[in-house]
């Protein structure tokens, strides 16, 4: 039997008096700062809790304004740079009928003190208690933070289970990539936002404003949620019944006729309309990605079959180059940063990227030396050329992501990088003064054999040999992560490798590279990969598992020092759920998947066909520059790619220089649309 810790509760009014008393109101309007500050001498990194960032806002609360508390459910230094949260923060605060403040998961030391002193979750902007807000809006980008979401809801003084909330409680909303499989959190979240949030937060505000104005009477919570379910891109899980057939899902069906059977994602058509953040937050203390970040495009159509981000954010929408330049120049001047990252899923694919980069580096208005970083999926001399242009001084390390060790397996995952492309890129990197190359790989991929796994070692070794021709100290770091199949990708049907199999593969590599001093092997903990697998493709029954892990103290599961697989395994066992069934089992083609009623625009037939192509080792090129495969996104939503150039940079749609431009010759046979989806 599990010892269940008493969940944290704030002093709450009795049920019969639903209207807050005036003294309570007065108490709620007060900043908690005088009670928070005395704790700061006792915690690590107290600057996590002070706010005061450049760009922070202290908005005035008012009865006519919907108050959003945007919560990033991880440590401040990880959450602060999150661009999605910053964008919504600005958009909401620009509205006359809304306001937004921010909060981050308090670290365990702070949480302990807060619970001890009865201090609830608070905003870092004005240090207001969570109960001052109408909405708690979570941005969720990784599955292992799910227990932190529950912890933050509880710290806010709100019942963790949505069914137990009343009109006095804020609405709990969640968005971000993880919302594309909302089911594991369905018991705890009132409404999910699927897709781009820029427009939908406005639509939601209008609905919630009415609820607030009506005085949040008894029973009104159900009504406002029902109304929110009408907004495109919003999913309200409590309005759906889940039917099971043994361990399998039979269907997820709406309980009312006006609730959509399938929730379609929201997509903004043109990034140029949304030049946010306009005032990126500049933190006072160290955070990850501590630099100016400018999003240059959203979406990716390279079609890497393992990549959920690429699949769910289609189509490609580029920001106009002029707007990029203005955002960079203004941003640098305002923030005082000397580093800017042009962000997207593969920034070297941006039309005319070389010109944009040169423009930024040579812009006289940018004070002093500006360094630039460019996450890229391309592996070719073109990319190295840009990197060389960018990093005139600090040429320490350059990163490539071949993802798999052999050409065969790279065709399976549709990462069409030939060996000679990689060697060419590595050759030009070392010859231009770089000393260290980092290579990213995955293991546990579909159809992977030991020859593929050992291909990782072979590639790394070969890169060192190439490097030695240029510098004696050449070294290569090979990072290997266990593959977790994600919803809405062609690999959603694939059975993930279990812990022993991943460990075996890691050990194959370790043995093979034991004597190779110049190759540093790094690997991700296979146990964390397993826990991520439970949550990634889980259904509604996984909610109870998440709750139990949380009740047993399992927060900050993304952090090695706090991660504990046994909590997850015990919770699965105590619910009679099989880890094998959820994680390592291959799904059947006729199986109802837990996220089938949430749509990223991709036809299920397209994904299934792509999965079959993967098994046949067929790659397909990028549809940005070649004929469309009718995956469903552009056609279904009446939107299209927004790209400035009809041809890929430096030729070759995979950025490899090879001619893959004849999309119609690619073996994609499309099944009729509108079958079982």
């Amino acid at each position: 039997m599990v010892a269940v810790s008493e969940p944290f509760t704030l002093a709450r009014q009795r049920p019969e008096s639903r209207r807050p008393s005036t003294t309570l109101l007065r108490k709620l309007m007060t900043s908690l700062w005088p009670r928070i500050e005395p704790l700061l001498a006792q915690v690590q990194k107290p600057a996590r809790y002070i706010g005061c960032e450049d760009g922070a806002q202290v908005p005035a609360h008012a009865p006519g304004k919907v108050a959003w508390l945007l919560v990033y459910p991880d440590a401040y230094e990880v959450g602060l740079p999150n661009q999605g949260l910053q964008i919504l923060y600005e958009i909401l605060n620009e509205r006359g009928d809304a306001l937004a403040e921010r909060s981050y998961a308090p670290w365990v030391d702070m949480e302990r003190l807060m619970r001890h002193r009865g201090i609830p979750l608070f905003s870092v902007d004005a240090h207001r208690p969570a109960s001052d807000f109408d909405v708690l809006g979570f941005g969720i980008s990784a599955e292992l933070v799910y227990t932190n979401v529950l912890n933050c809801i509880d710290l806010a003084g709100v019942p963790v289970r949505a069914a137990e909330r009343g009109p006095e409680h804020p609405l709990v909303v969640a968005g971000g990539h993880c919302a594309f499989n909302p089911e594991p959190l369905a018991d705890f979240v009132d409404a999910f936002v699927i897709g781009d949030g820029e427009e939908v937060v406005g639509d939601m505000t209008e609905v919630i404003r009415g609820w607030k104005a009506s005085g949040r009477t008894a029973g009104s919570r159900e009504a406002v949620l029902r109304e929110l379910a009408q907004v495109t891109g919003v999913y309200v899980p409590s309005l759906y019944d889940v039917e099971y057939d043994g361990p399998f899902l039979r269907a997820v069906v709406p309980r009312y006729a006006d609730v959509p059977e399938v929730v379609e994602k929201r997509t903004i058509a043109d990034l140029a309309d949304w030049p946010y953040p306009k005032r990126q937050l500049v933190p006072l203390t160290e955070v990850v990605h501590d630099r100016l970040n400018v999003e240059i495009f959203r979406g990716c159509t390279r079609g890497c079959r393992f990549c959920q981000a690429g699949m769910i954010t289609r189509p490609v929408r580029e920001r106009p180059a002029d707007q990029v330049r203005t955002m960079v120049t203004d941003g640098l001047r305002r923030t005082g940063y000397d580093e800017v990252s042009l962000t997207s899923l593969s920034s070297a694919d941006f039309s005319g990227i070389d010109g944009v980069v040169a423009g930024i580096i040579n812009e006289p208005a940018n004070c002093g030396q500006v360094s630039l970083s460019l996450p890229s999926l391309r592996v070719d001399a073109f990319t190295v050329g840009i990197a060389t242009e960018i990093q005139k001084v600090r040429r320490t390390g350059l990163t490539f992501a071949p993802e798999a060790g052999t050409w065969r397996l790279r065709q399976v995952i549709n990462k069409l990088i030939r060996e000679e492309d990689l060697y060419g890129a590595v050759e030009s990197a070392y010859s231009q003064g770089w000393r260290r190359v980092k290579l990213y790989f995955m293991t546990g991929l579909p159809t992977e054999t030991d020859e593929d796994t050992l291909g990782i070692a072979r590639l790394a070794r070969r890169c060192v040999e190439i490097g030695r021709r240029h510098t004696r100290g050449a070294s290569v770091t090979a990072s290997v992560g266990g593959f977790v199949p994600k919803p809405h990708t062609p690999f959603q049907w694939f059975g993930q490798n279990g812990v022993p199999e991943l460990l075996r593969k890691v050990n194959l590599l370790r043995n093979d590279l034991r004597r190779e001093r110049a190759v540093q092997l790094r690997w991700h903990d296979p146990k964390a990969t397993l826990a991520e697998g439970i949550a990634s493709r889980g259904d509604r029954r996984i909610g109870a598992v998440i709750e139990e892990v949380w009740r047993r103290g399992g927060t900050f599961q993304e952090w090695t020092e706090h991660f504990d697989l046994s909590l997850w395994e015990d919770a699965m066992a105590s619910r009679g759920l099989s880890v094998e069934w959820y994680v390592t089992r291959h799904r059947r083609d006729d199986e109802v998947l837990p996220w089938d009623h949430v749509r990223a625009g991709l036809h299920r037939d397209f994904l299934w066909q792509d999965w079959q192509d993967a098994l046949r080792e067929h790659g397909i090129p990028d549809c940005r520059w070649t004929p469309c495969y009718d995956c469903g996104v552009c056609t279904g939503y009446g939107i299209e790619h927004v790209v400035a150039s009809p041809t890929p940079p430096a030729g070759g749609s995979q950025g490899t220089g090879q001619d893959l431009s004849r999309g119609d010759a690619v073996p994609v046979a499309l099944l009729p649309v509108g079958g079982r989806a």
Binding site: W33, E37, L40, A41, P46, A47, Y49, I50, G51, C52, E53, D54, V282, L284, T285, E286, R333, R334, T335, G336, Y337, D338, C367, G368, Q369, V393, R394, T396
Partner: protein, 236 residues
């Protein structure tokens, strides 16, 4: 050309670290486009040096930094004070700027002592007076700390230049202490904890840094018009 800047650190921002403050200044210098000189080599750094680190959580009216410029300034150096303050976060403000003579020593070498005020929450002036007498009467105040994995003992008593009860506030008594910084900077919290390990301190604020040589004593920068607390402190 080298400039010396005095600045304050007050309010919520006191919870940032010494390194955080260094980064704030680097960004502020770029925002006002100060032509800061950079080190050469593999990873160029701006040539800025800070004085004695202020412990996280303390306020200060007397922080200093020296910055080396690659070219001379166009206007008078005092004009930088408001420009820098506008480019810095709330709570960090420049209060004085002066040009340094060639060959002027570094802050780390020059500063010999600091004056601090320390709030003792809940303590009356009687309790505070007793504490002061105990410190002053102690022959030695020995603390043991870890250095490079080995315990080292220090006697803090010789570092106490002066210690008085400066007054009382509704929150409690306030002590004023002047503590030496050579051979190492003694912090007020550490001194009082040597006497009473469980002592709870309120706000600790550095009010002055002093340079003493050959019997004379001065601050790293003279008070300036923009520098109200220092002008007052000097007048009193």
């Amino acid at each position: 050309m080298r400039l010396r800047v005095r600045f304050v650190k007050l309010g919520k921002v006191r919870w940032t670290s010494h390194r955080d403050v260094a980064r704030m200044w680097e960004r502020a210098f770029r925002r006002v486009r100060l032509p800061v000189a950079y080190t050469g080599g593999f990873s160029p750094r701006p040539k800025v040096s800070f004085g004695l680190a202020l412990p996280t959580g303390c306020e200060s009216l007397a922080e200093y930094l020296d910055v080396e410029l690659a070219s001379d300034l166009d206007g008078p150096v005092e004009a930088l004070v408001p420009r820098l303050s506008a480019a810095l976060p709330t709570g960090v403000d420049a209060t004085a700027v002066g040009a340094l003579e060639a060959g002027a020593g570094s802050l780390q070498e020059l500063v010999t002592s600091c004056t601090w005020t320390v709030e003792l929450p809940g303590a009356g002036s009687g309790d505070a007076g007793r504490l002061v007498r105990e410190v002053l009467d102690a022959g030695a105040l020995v603390v043991t700390r870890e250095r490079k994995g080995r315990p080292v003992t220090d006697d803090l008593r010789p570092a106490v230049v002066s210690l008085t009860v400066a007054g009382t506030t509704p929150a409690g008594a306030v002590l004023e202490a002047e503590l030496e910084t050579q051979p190492r900077g003694v912090r007020p919290g550490e001194l009082l904890a040597a006497l009473e390990p469980s002592i709870e301190l309120g706000l600790v604020r550095r009010t002055h840094q002093w340079i003493e040589r050959d019997g004379a004593r001065w601050e790293p920068l003279p008070p300036q018009a923009t520098d109200a607390p220092h002008a007052e402190a000097r007048a009193s």
